[in-house]
């Protein structure tokens, strides 16, 4: 009887909070979007599922041992933790919600060594890290998962179109205005008092405008880990929405005549150029932006493995087994940040709004940059390929192609748009490096 009572008071039905219920619905919505609507399913299926797991009441899958100890709130345990966390609490004292908040707050603000010590103590007292917390620590907090995915993306990327028309790198640069414009937007929201952000948070939100999943996750895990869930969800959702977000902006900023511009055939690129290019990028990183070295280094390494032709088995594995394994754990780990207490915040709304703005600004700047280039150069660029500079590989390039075909059924822009598309990946990694350097 006693035991059945334990089971009942420990059940989800007895403990489910409104916030958890809401977040479980959000998780189901993400699954629906991924499965039925095809929104970036490789990431959103694990993220959505992880989000549901993170909100199972009492399971504490996304919590550390110390957070679980605080949640279960046994007076003697709290008394033991109080010393390390510097919270004033004695063993006899009653456990009010304010007391628990004081503990949670102290844990959240704790320095690296305090967090370590309090977790050792909690494990000594019999609490354990939740499964998703462990996944997050190993895959994201260590930084390894986004980097390995970036290596895999590098191994999947063909720089051929970019090499045959290097000028399109500038389109990838212009589109990064989306990132920094969003930082300004966040500052505006803060200045007008709508919501509060720090510069670190504003920068982490801005990176959504990079339209590149692993970069967003990597940057926000460094600058604002508490926002990582919302930022990753926004980044992948908007990447899936690119075919809806971009075309109106592209059409508004271009004339029918511009959209119908036919671009000349891309020149053929030699194998050697493709092998040397990742090394050229790496050297530029070495000389100018060491802080972009982890991201761009792994990206170039993946691409070199792909192109050099002598390590095909490594390239294959990094494009398949390895990236798949990491994606599964990365997705579940991102989901672990969709806990109700962390996600249901006014800031999340701001993130969703600003993220959308970031995509729009990036798209617009890419298109305008292409028009600007046309002013100075004889060889005309179809400005529709400028929007591909936001990255969102290969979706944005396909959008450029589709809008181009609407304007001129003989106008195949896909290959031309792949140049700025991959340039956008480099561009956002550079922007990420700058942000980490200046704020990290």
């Amino acid at each position: 009887m006693d035991k059945l009572l334990t089971l009942w008071t420990g059940s989800g039905l007895f403990n489910l909070s409104g916030g958890q219920f809401f977040m479980i619905c959000v998780g189901l919505l993400l699954l629906f979007l991924a499965i039925r609507k095809g929104f970036e399913p490789l990431l959103l299926v694990p993220i959505g599922f992880g989000g549901i797991l993170a909100n199972i009441p009492e399971a504490g899958l996304a919590l550390s041992a110390a957070e679980n100890a605080i949640h279960f709130a046994k007076p003697e345990v709290l008394a033991a933790l109080a010393g390390i966390l510097d919270v004033s609490y004695q063993a006899g004292q009653s456990v009010t919600p304010e007391v628990l908040d004081a503990f949670k707050h102290a844990y959240k603000l704790g320095s690296y060594d305090v967090v370590q010590q309090v977790n050792v103590l909690a494990q000594t007292l019999g609490y354990t890290n939740g499964m998703l917390y462990n996944f997050y620590s190993v895959s994201i907090a260590s930084g390894v998962a986004p980097l390995v995915i970036f290596m895999g993306v590098g191994a999947m990327t063909d720089f051929g179109p970019l090499l045959s028309n290097p000028k399109t790198l500038l389109l990838g640069a212009a589109a990064q205005f989306g990132i920094f414009g969003t930082v300004i937007g966040a500052a505006l929201l803060d200045m007008t008092g709508v919501m509060d952000f720090t510069i670190m948070e504003a920068a982490a939100i801005g990176i959504i405008g990079g339209a590149d999943g692993p970069t967003s996750i990597y940057v926000s895990s460094i600058l604002a880990p508490h926002l990582l869930g919302a930022i990753a969800v926004a980044a992948y959702s908007y990447m899936a929405l690119v075919p809806m977000i971009q075309p109106p902006i592209m059409k508004a900023l271009t004339s029918q005549k511009e959209r119908a511009i036919k671009m000349s055939q891309l020149r053929a690129v030699s194998k050697k150029e493709k092998i040397v290019f990742p090394l050229v990028v790496l050297m530029a990183v070495v000389l100018f932006l060491p802080d972009a070295a982890p991201l761009l280094g792994m990206f170039c390494f993946g691409n070199l493995m792909r192109e050099c032709g002598v390590v095909e088995r490594l390239s294959d594995t990094s494009q398949n087994a390895l990236i798949n394994i990491v994606t599964i754990f990365l997705g579940l780990s991102v989901g672990s940040k969709l806990g109700a207490d962390k996600f249901l915040d006014l800031q999340t709304l701001g993130i969703l709004l600003l993220g959308m703005a970031a995509f729009c600004v990036g798209t617009a700047c890419g298109v305008l940059m292409a028009k600007l280039l046309n002013v100075f150069s004889k060889e005309q660029i179809n400005p529709l390929i400028g929007s591909a500079g936001v990255s969102a590989v290969p979706m944005a390039a396909r959008v450029s192609n589709k809008v181009g075909l609407d304007a001129n059924p003989q106008n195949f822009l896909l290959m031309h748009a792949m140049g700025p598309n991959v340039a956008g990946v480099i561009g956002s990694a550079v922007a990420a490096g700058v942000m980490i350097k200046l704020l990290g």
């Binding site: 999947m156 990327t157 063909d158 051929g160 179109p161 090499l163 045959s164 290097p166 790198l169 500038l170 990838g172 640069a173 990064q176 205005f177 920094f180 414009g181 930082v183 300004i184 966040a186 500052a187 803060d190 200045m191 952000f197 720090t198 510069i199 504003a202 920068a203 891309l266 053929a268 690129v269 030699s270 194998k271 050697k272 150029e273 493709k274 040397v276 290019f277 050229v280 050297m283 530029a284 100018f288 932006l289 792909r306 494009q319 590989v393 290969p394 390039a397 896909l414 290959m415 792949m418 991959v422 340039a423 480099i426 561009g427 550079v430 922007a431 700058v434 942000m435 200046l438 704020l439």
Partner: protein, 83 residues
């Protein structure tokens, strides 16, 4: 203009300045690289530019019937060996 806004503007100037500088340098480095390679290397068979391999949707065409048979055979092979 409050503290955050001035930080944001600073970040934008530094950031976009850097992104453009970096990518402009890369444009020139790439052009020089291509020129050097084409000058100092023996002519070699060039590879026509393709889309990102990983997501391409137009692989070399194979007779659909054969392809189907092979797909089945692969499935069979796999299911036998995965157990």
């Amino acid at each position: 203009m409050n503290e955050l806004m001035s930080q944001a503007v600073d970040l934008m100037i530094a950031g976009m300045g850097f992104v453009f500088s970096f990518l402009i340098i890369l444009v020139f480095a790439t052009l020089i690289m291509s020129k050097l390679i084409s000058r100092y290397s023996s002519p070699e068979p060039v590879i026509p530019a393709r889309t990102t391999r990983a997501r391409s949707s137009a692989p070399t065409p194979v007779d659909p019937g054969t392809a189907e048979a092979i797909k089945k055979a692969i499935a069979q092979y796999r299911s036998r060996h995965k157990k």
